[in-house]
Symmetry: C2
Subunit: 404 residues, 2 copies
């Protein structure tokens, strides 16, 4: 309740005391809807003149009402600040809202809306008059998967300006149902890093954003399903003979036991060598970090805790290897935490971030680690949920701790 009141107060200031409904920053150019009211309620609109029932799905499902002009509208209750995926349901068809840019989440290109924070809170991921790095799209061939893969690589402004110099690397992963585009579209990784580096809060570093989905040739595609890249309702069926073989069901649970090992293998066989061949990379484990959000956090824990000779920094943003109970410092993660002193010596930063409304699991895990003598940083993002604003804040807190 306190949070809601604060939000109302701040947003009233921000909106200049009017009740103007502002178009979301993610709308296509010129689209007046969806728009966000000063109290963070949101009005949606879509043209569907012959439809019987239209809903907007953001959190729950909200019925829209048809006007005489064939335009359906709905105003939904105040939303948490940050980026949210949403979709429309038009006579049973789940589709993206044509009024917004789309974002790859839950395995398809659905709609996104940004519920704005006060400008001062959003400053760290806003474009400012500071030197700007770049995010590069790069294709490479993976021997492990037998396929061409795409990753995105952030290089800081000075990387090009200086012809020499070597840089440490952070490998940074998206979450379930997302892909390698998430961090530079939903996450604003480039603006966050540009601002941190300009303020000398973070060391200039390279950030590599890959796709956490990696399947060995011929492996069961259910691995993909478990990883959330076949999630849209239209897809959750058996493909016809000769089709690509979509599995019968897809869900967040029931990961195959080997779900992360192919990625780890691909990373060390294909990705890291390509990066170190292509960029001016500082050598050694103390110049290599890995982090990820949600399932990407789980992947990061799996990869790093099994390869402490290769990494000195590890971050889990709303996802790690613990927090679900059953953690035993002596045996969990193949006993990597059993000798806390040895672990602490190797791991320079073990970071656990979470949104305050996501539940106590990550905090419990952090406390269990601390009790076991394992040094770790616990970061809690106030008032945010399991979505991108939590993860932008995690990165903003994590990156300054690296490579010092």
């Amino acid at each position: 309740m306190k949070i809601v009141i604060l939000c109302l107060f701040v947003s009233a200031l921000c909106w200049g005391q009017t009740d103007e409904c502002r178009p979301s920053s993610l709308n296509i150019p010129g689209a007046p809807y969806p728009c966000v009211h000063p109290d963070r309620s949101v009005t949606f609109r879509v043209s569907a003149p012959d439809a019987q029932k239209v809903q907007v799905r953001l959190g729950g499902a909200h019925d829209m009402t048809k006007g005489s002009d064939g335009l359906w509208m709905a105003t939904i209750p105040p939303q948490v600040v940050g980026f949210h995926y949403y979709s429309l349901v038009i006579d049973g068809a789940t589709v993206a809202d044509p009024a917004t840019r789309t974002f790859f989440g839950s395995g398809w290109d659905n709609s996104g809306i940004e519920i704005p924070e006060p400008a001062s809170d959003a400053a760290y991921y806003s474009a400012k008059d500071v030197p700007h790095g770049q995010v590069a799209q790069r294709w490479y061939y993976s021997k492990v998967t037998g396929k061409w893969r795409r990753c995105y690589v952030y290089t800081p402004s000075e990387y090009e300006a200086k012809s020499g110099g070597k840089y440490p690397v952070l490998y940074l992963l998206h979450g379930w149902g997302e892909n390698e585009q998430g961090w530079h579209t939903q996450g604003h990784v480039d603006l966050i890093m540009d601002n941190l580096i300009a303020e000398k809060r973070a060391k200039p570093m390279i950030v590599v954003m890959d796709n956490l989905n990696a399947v060995a040739p011929g492996a069961d595609a259910s691995l993909y399903a478990a990883r959330g890249i076949i999630a849209h309702a239209s897809m959750a069926e058996v493909a016809p003979a000769g089709g690509r073989g979509a599995p019968a069901a897809a869900g967040r649970g029931g990961f195959p036991t080997n779900w992360g090992t192919v990625f780890t293998d691909m990373m060390f066989t294909d990705l890291v060598p390509m990066i170190e061949r292509t960029y001016r990379v500082a050598p050694g484990r103390e110049n290599r970090a890995m982090a990820g959000l949600s399932m990407g956090g789980m992947q990061s824990f799996l990869t790093v805790l099994g390869n402490l000779d290769k990494f000195a920094y590890l971050g889990g943003f709303s996802g790690s290897s613990g927090g679900r109970g059953g953690f035993d410092p002596k045996t969990s993660n193949n006993g990597v935490f059993a000798d806390a002193a040895a672990f602490n010596k190797k791991m320079k930063v073990l970071f656990l971030g979470i949104g305050s409304v996501e539940g106590p699991g990550t905090k419990n895990f952090s406390e269990a680690l601390t009790t076991a003598g394992v040094h770790n940083v616990y970061f809690e993002s106030p008032g945010t949920a399991h979505d991108w604003l939590t993860w932008r804040r995690c990165l903003n807190d994590f990156a300054p701790r690296l490579f010092k």
Copy 2:
């Protein structure tokens, strides 16, 4: 007719004589539909259990048929090879197909399908085992528009590998209703350039892809409308008081007379200086080229023909300043062609490309230029229309002619 027969023959070879319907390469992972049959007919499918009428719009509108499972399907006639935008109409709502990745065209994120060519024809824009450059996303502030802008910059593989060396620059524009993402998503600019450079057919160069939309602060937003970035049906209305001010109508015709001058001003004031400050750019007009497709071709002609002191190469892909009749070499384009010998001395390559099914306008323009003594290259892409396969082929023919 000859073309259709040839296509049938080649695709039968390509598909291994089966009647398998292959998922489009642009589908979201795991989606079996849309799929392309050996004869290049296409089957679409969408789940819309409560809809009364569903159509797919690709070229014309095609009715879909509802099955007992609530899935609507349609198989539409054989399509021309290449990339096509399409959309679904569900009870009157025009939306993207949730089964494909989306692509910004006609001013919104709609669906795309790739009707494959024989692999040998598509080789020049396919990923191969050659050195790969990168496409970088870069933010910069424009003094002319008073806004942050985003461009994408291709740098060849050797740009990073060598710490010295300066490179010529091609400025390359998208078309009406598209944006700065078009060339590296729909256009495969990086793969085309990687392959040309690896075969030593093109000189290593930097390619800058910006957004051709540029509006001065406070200028009438109808400029945006004319440029096709407010095109979706839901948007073509007057915004409510306090909204972003969408104009009453949007269309391809009726460009304001100053439609391209703000972009030109922005380019010389903001974009080119940023590029030349940031990258190792070879100096002078003989190291600078500009080209674009459709409206981007019109913009390129406007910018370059008015600034021959700054460019030595110009390309129009399905778009230029002529071809609509009324061309007079003595007076058109402010008389830049009046002294053909002087023009030929300055312009090292004037390139006019077009798809063979787009009509004779560009060929007529080329011939009128030739008759007037103006050297030019006419390139015709066989069997393709006003879409991205024509423009990939144009780039593949144009780039090897540059900076020699």
